[in-house]
């Protein structure tokens, strides 16, 4: 592979439907409550946490409402509105990426080509409705309005509550429809001393702002707890939902401490035809990997030093421009622009559901600065006349390489590849009949892919254990007979 022939055509993976991660959406009518995906920027600096929630709400904005547990009573200065494009920029920069290489023609010298790759946007819709909030007698419910702020287009209340029934009734009285299962998680948050950050949209101020969408809300607080409360968001979620976490620290990677954090499969060679379906490819790869990891792991998609003043390679290939000073400022990475130290960027993708994620996500900042990116490789074949001996040798190698690519694609996604025989046949067609005859052998997997999953090693470990237990029993029997 020659670097001169390297051309980096990249893709960003589509942003799926984005909704709030930890709030539940509440509805007055019997509209189905459904969150699919949310995006969160998480900045951790010592005991300080800055959380930005994307609020990329696809329904009617007047229906938007959100309840988020927070560890302290936030002051007005702790809450701000940031620009939506910070999420777009961070997503684009850290997305799983496709890289293309071109082979040299061994019969000629250089070929050079360029390509652009288009990306399918995959979206889904969700809906939720919330009525306007009415005043309620807070004393009746043991609910205290600790603070009330108007920030941008949002009306924000910080609620303290004594017990979950009171809070639940207060929300109901104020026109929020609480999912039935919300009750079981409100109580633990109240007893943990959490406050509730309750947000709705003021339509007049939204119109005055000139925006026709909701901008992300950012909150900052000091707390030794470094976590994301996902349980409340599950209250109205059917099945599983996705969350992308863009985390920034001074020292290194962020990892989950109560679930496994695993890298998504990366640096895999895949067939050329996967390019047009790259969005689908990554979605299927992610789903398959999530299954293989037992549906209870956090996927690492990107980890890199993004310090503005750092001279090292920022990505390979770069999917988008690195975060700009304005984006760091918007994200709350306030030390980035004054040369205040390293900025390390971790992107995690969590697909979570009630069954496999009973606990809220707890994180820790580690000194781990090892870089990682989700990267998939396409290699274009050499073009031109390949009839020389070296060219025929090359085609044979290409045939085997494509066999491996097909196997890899099948293992990663489980796609039915029986319609893609032409991918192999076009190589065969260029070989002389004598050479072609030597290339037999199955290349389409006939049974399910056998991932290197947690069950892969099970037989080995169980066998080992059985052996040792046997040895131990043997010894015990001998000891007994001697006695």
């Amino acid at each position: 592979m020659n670097l001169r022939n390297l051309l980096l055509a990249t893709l960003t993976l589509s942003a799926l439907q984005s909704m709030s991660f930890c709030g539940f959406y509440v509805a007055k009518a019997d509209a189905t409550l459904f969150n699919d995906r949310s995006e969160v920027i998480l900045v951790r600096d010592g005991q300080r946490t800055i959380i930005t929630m994307s609020n990329d709400f696809k329904g009617n904005v007047k229906d938007f409402a959100m309840v988020v547990p927070v560890p302290t009573v936030l002051q007005q200065s702790d809450i701000r509105i940031v620009e939506r494009n910070v999420f777009t920029a961070l997503d684009a920069y850290s997305s799983p990426r496709l890289v293309e290489y071109w082979d040299d023609n061994p019969c000629q010298r250089w070929e050079y080509a360029e390509s652009e790759v288009q990306m399918d946007m995959v979206t889904s819709t969700g809906n939720a409705k919330v009525p306007a909030m009415r005043d309620a007698n807070e004393k009746d419910y043991g609910v205290t309005i600790e603070a009330r702020y108007a920030v941008g287009e949002y009306d924000i209340l910080i609620l303290g509550a004594k017990e979950s029934n009171g809070l639940k009734n207060w929300l109901l009285e104020n026109g929020y429809k609480i999912p039935n299962t919300a009750h079981e998680v409100l109580d633990p948050y109240i007893k943990s001393g959490m406050k509730f950050f309750v947000v709705k949209v003021d339509l007049q101020r939204l119109q005055a702002s000139g925006y026709d969408f909701l901008r992300p809300i950012q909150v900052r607080f000091e707390s030794e707890k470094f976590m994301l409360p996902i349980r409340l968001g599950m209250a109205n979620s059917s099945g599983v939902q996705d969350m992308i976490v863009y985390a920034f620290t001074r020292t290194g990677r962020v990892e989950c401490v109560n679930y496994r954090t695993v890298k998504v499969p990366s640096d895999k060679n895949i067939p050329l035809f996967a390019k047009a379906r790259f969005g689908e490819f990554y979605k299927d790869l992610f789903a398959k990997n999530w299954e293989r990891e037992g549906r209870n792991a956090v996927a690492l998609e990107y980890a890199w030093n993004v310090t503005p003043t750092w001279g090292g390679m920022k990505c390979d290939p770069c999917v988008g421009p690195p975060p700009m000073p304005n984006e760091f400022a918007q994200a709350g990475v306030d030390w980035a622009n004054d040369g205040g130290g390293q900025v390390f960027f971790t992107r995690m993708h969590v697909r979570y559901g009630r069954e496999k994620f009973p606990q809220d996500l707890a994180f820790q900042v580690t000194p781990n600065t090892e870089h990682f990116q989700a990267r998939y490789i396409l290699t274009h074949p050499a073009t031109g006349d390949l009839t020389c001996t070296a060219g025929q040798d090359y085609l044979e190698d290409l045939f085997y390489r494509r066999t491996r690519e097909m196997d890899e694609l099948y293992a990663l996604t489980g796609w039915d590849l029986s319609q893609e025989r032409n991918y192999m046949n076009e190589v065969k067609g260029k070989l002389t009949p004598a050479r072609r005859n030597g290339l037999e052998g199955p290349y389409f997997p006939s049974d399910g892919p056998n991932g290197n999953g947690p069950n892969g090693m099970l037989g080995f470990v169980l066998g080992l254990l059985a052996l040792l237990i046997g040895a131990y029993m043997l010894r015990s029997r001998k000891t007994a007979s001697i006695a």
């Binding site: 954090t261 290197n452 470990v461 254990l465 040792l468 237990i469 043997l474 010894r475």
Partner: protein, 282 residues
């Protein structure tokens, strides 16, 4: 026939020393982590820990004139550290492993080392270098892993007679977490179960805290000691929000051992009890 008897004798002498079990089990978990849980195969990291632990132990064996069989303990320490300690630089690992083994020979009280070597090395590397960390989430809470750790751990602690420590620690810790999580906060029992079935916690329970050389000698004292470490670990976890809390709790627990042994007497532990008929092959 002769060969059969020879094999049988070798097997007997193999299983007489619990350290062999420990090496096999810990080695199995490391293999499981790398192959099944998809850990990075950091061979340099593993080689560094093994090399340093065995190297430092060899120096002390030559210096102090102790038996070569004590190398097995160094291998166990290295395996334990491979399973728990992560670091950015191999020098951090060298430091941690050196502290672990050297601490065994230098931090002594009445002829007995005070700290659990792996525990001391990990704590020193994390606290002093800023380049090391422990990943409590790396094992996950898989049911099969939990079974394997508990099953093999039980064999292990029964062999060394430290089931009391494991039960005292895990029982107290589980009870405290249950009281907090389910009774007080009102989370469902599945949250509690998920907190307890953490692979790191179980490995700690069966393979670290039970080191017979650094647990109190008196049986009663071990019950109290295990419970005390559980209380500390609980407080560190949920009051101070320290991850990998049992590591720090055990460090404090070990520091109290000289006092505990002074107050409550017990039999010293020997890895292999003198057995005139057993032919030593290691």
């Amino acid at each position: 026939m002769q060969a059969l008897i020879g094999t049988s004798t070798r097997l007997r002498s193999f299983i007489q020393d619990p350290r062999h079990f420990q090496i096999v089990f810990l080695g199995g978990f490391l293999t499981y982590g790398v192959l099944a849980l998809g850990w990075d195969s950091q061979w340099m990291r593993y080689a560094t820990l093994f090399g340093t632990c065995v190297g430092i132990q060899t120096i002390f064996i030559r210096w102090k004139g102790i038996p070569w069989s004590s190398l097995k303990s160094a291998v166990i320490t290295a395996l334990g550290m491979c399973l728990l300690l992560q670091a950015g630089s191999i020098w951090t690992l060298v430091f941690g492993a050196t502290v672990a083994i050297a601490g065994k020979f230098l931090l002594r009280w009445k002829g007995r080392h005070i700290f659990n070597p792996g525990n001391l090395g990990i704590a020193a590397a994390v606290a002093l270098t800023g380049d090391a960390w422990v990943s409590p989430g790396q094992w996950g809470s898989g049911a099969m892993l939990v079974f394997l750790v508990v099953a093999s751990g039980s064999i292990m602690v029964l062999r060394v007679g430290r089931i009391d420590t494991s039960v005292a620690f895990l029982g107290t810790f589980a009870a405290l977490v249950y009281i907090r999580t389910v009774w007080y906060l009102g989370w469902g029992a599945d949250v509690w179960w998920h907190q307890l079935t953490n692979g790191s916690l179980l490995l700690f329970t069966f393979f670290m805290i039970t080191d017979p050389m650094t647990t109190p000698r008196s049986g009663k004292a071990r019950w109290l000691w295990g419970m005390g470490i559980a209380v500390l670990a609980f407080a560190f976890s949920w009051h101070f929000w320290i991850h990998a809390a049992p590591i720090w709790a055990l460090l404090l627990g070990c520091a109290l051992n000289p006092l505990i042994d002074h107050l409550m007497h017990g039999e010293p532990f020997h890895w292999v009890r003198p057995a005139p008929h057993a032919q030593r092959t290691f």
